[in-house]
């Protein structure tokens, strides 16, 4: 799979080295095998969507990539370096940001503290004010509530904050799980607009989206998972016709 991207790789990596390379990945949750031999790559600056039914293993892929869940086999490479088994903080320092599914903010910290925590660690203290400005520009609602503790935000606002933490400090790869989960449609559009800006800065995207149609519009490459294995990969144009069948499997659709 080769997805040519607008932005070039950073100076210290060979041109053409994918920002993320997943090879033969498997994963287990206890006794349950969640992933079977998953392989794909994300080129620098590319936008890849992972689609599949619930339980297909999309979130698990994201979690193994960022080190939250240990790989049961296979390798994960970031900019050519093998990071399999590395702790999440090490992978994050290599420029990978992960917006996890659900409410992923620190409820006891204020909105601003949530942002400062991440920005300071990823960008350094000097760059924090600029990053804050940028994020409050994208999400004025968060600016209004900057001093409020994140736990008192509504579910959707917390989601917004989680995205803001990632969008303010984008680097090499941004992994977004269940992007539109709990967000009002107008906010979803804002978020996609913000993702476009991030891409323009040369950051690659790995999107996991419940609304497949919307994800296809934002991605230039699609990887379809079913029951923990890759069943198809290609451009949205190539796949959109057969997508339903690929996602749900042949024959009558089994929900759940």
């Amino acid at each position: 799979m080769t997805v040519e991207a607008a932005a070039a790789g950073t100076a210290d990596t060979a041109p053409g080295t994918p920002v993320l390379e997943v090879d033969g990945l498997s994963a287990f949750y206890g006794h349950v095998r969640a992933l079977f031999d998953v392989s794909f790559t994300v080129a620098p600056g590319a936008s890849v969507a992972l689609v599949g039914a619930n339980g297909a293993g999309k979130s698990t892929v994201a979690r193994v990539v960022t080190g939250l869940v240990p790989a049961g086999g296979g390798t994960v490479r970031i900019d050519g370096a093998d990071v399999t088994g590395h702790p999440p903080w090490d992978i994050a320092r290599r420029g990978v940001t992960h917006v996890t599914e659900g409410r992923s903010v620190f409820s006891s910290l204020t909105v601003e503290e949530n942002l400062v925590l991440t920005f300071r660690a990823e960008l350094g203290a000097a760059a924090v004010p600029a990053a804050l400005e940028r994020v409050f520009g994208t999400f004025p609602r968060l600016g209004e509530r900057r001093g409020q503790s994140a736990g008192t935000l509504s579910g959707g606002e917390q989601r917004m904050l989680a995205l803001a933490r990632a969008l303010g400090a984008p680097q090499r790869l941004l992994v977004v799980d269940e992007l539109s989960f709990g967000l009002a449609p107008v906010i979803v559009e804002q978020v996609y607009a913000a993702l476009d800006d991030v891409r323009a800065d040369g950051c690659a995207l790995l999107l996991i989206e419940q609304h497949v149609d919307r994800a296809l519009r934002a991605a230039d490459h699609v990887v379809v998972l079913r029951k923990g294995a890759v069943v198809a990969a290609g451009t949205p144009a190539e796949l959109s016709a057969s997508l339903d069948e690929l996602v749900l499997g042949p024959g009558p659709a089994e929900a759940g």
Partner: protein, 252 residues
């Protein structure tokens, strides 16, 4: 007469208004949707109706009876069932037990003595109703599984089933489709419409998935900053200029 009449509900958390002087009416057997941007106060409204949060002002009537001073469990027994946006299942219990515990709690009280004297096996009638609800939701095969092993989609159905025992006259669903894929959402819509036809249960649905909303509800309330922005049929409300601005964005 309305099944639910809420008048002037207001609630603030730490100086931030979650609900401002809100009125809500639900007729018996009616399905009402509540939509609105994030933070508009939708979940708070549910909590106020069921008594999990005490509103700063306002009254709630169920069938003409004031219930806003009653504890949550009393309101539940009067016929209000709800699901939670963040799953709140009972760890360690099976799917069928979730439904049974709700059935028994809504219909009977707590009696340690009865347990000691007569072992209090579930009555056949109770088990029948549990089975019927499992059947309705397509959970029969999973009846004796502990909920820990379920997928999110099934877990949401267990919450729905638990809310359906009793059965309730008013069913409040808090973003039941979040985390479900398209096929599961379609099945949920079918279940809800089927439910209304069969039992005439009134439904209040908080939901972002507009397809689901359109498929299920008769009237839609749109909230913004805790205030009512618009109310009417789904089509009318979605055509409303202010609603489009605040909620949908203009390109839809």
């Amino acid at each position: 007469m309305s099944l639910v009449t809420a008048r002037g509900i207001s609630k603030a958390f730490g100086g931030i208004d979650a609900l401002v002087n809100l009125d809500l009416d639900v007729e018996a057997g009616e399905a009402v949707g509540i939509a609105g941007p994030n933070g508009a106060g939708k979940t708070t409204l549910f909590n106020c109706l069921l008594g999990l949060v005490e509103p700063d002002a306002g009254t709630v009537e169920l069938d003409g009876r004031r219930i806003d001073r009653l504890p949550t469990w009393r309101r539940s027994r009067l016929g209000i069932g709800r699901t939670f946006q963040r799953l709140a299942l009972f760890e360690g219990m099976t799917v069928a037990e979730h439904l049974l515990v709700a059935e028994q709690a809504r219909r009977g009280g707590i009696s340690f003595v009865r347990d000691l004297v007569e072992r209090s096996e579930p009555r056949p009638s109770e088990l029948e109703r549990v089975d019927a609800t499992l059947e309705l939701l397509g959970l029969t095969d999973l009846a004796d599984r502990p909920v820990e092993g379920l997928s999110l989609g099934h877990a949401r159905l267990v919450e729905l089933g638990r809310a359906l025992m009793g059965p309730p006259r008013l069913l409040m669903l808090d973003e039941p489709s979040s985390g479900l894929d398209a096929a599961e959402t379609a099945r949920l819509a079918a279940i809800l419409t089927d439910l209304r036809h069969r039992s005439g249960t009134a439904i209040v649905l908080v939901e972002h998935d507009l397809q689901l909303v359109e498929a299920v509800v008769d009237r839609l309330y749109v909230l913004d900053f805790g205030q009512l922005l618009a109310v009417g049929t789904v089509r009318d409300v979605l055509a409303d200029e202010r609603v489009r601005q605040a909620y949908l964005g203009t390109d839809r």
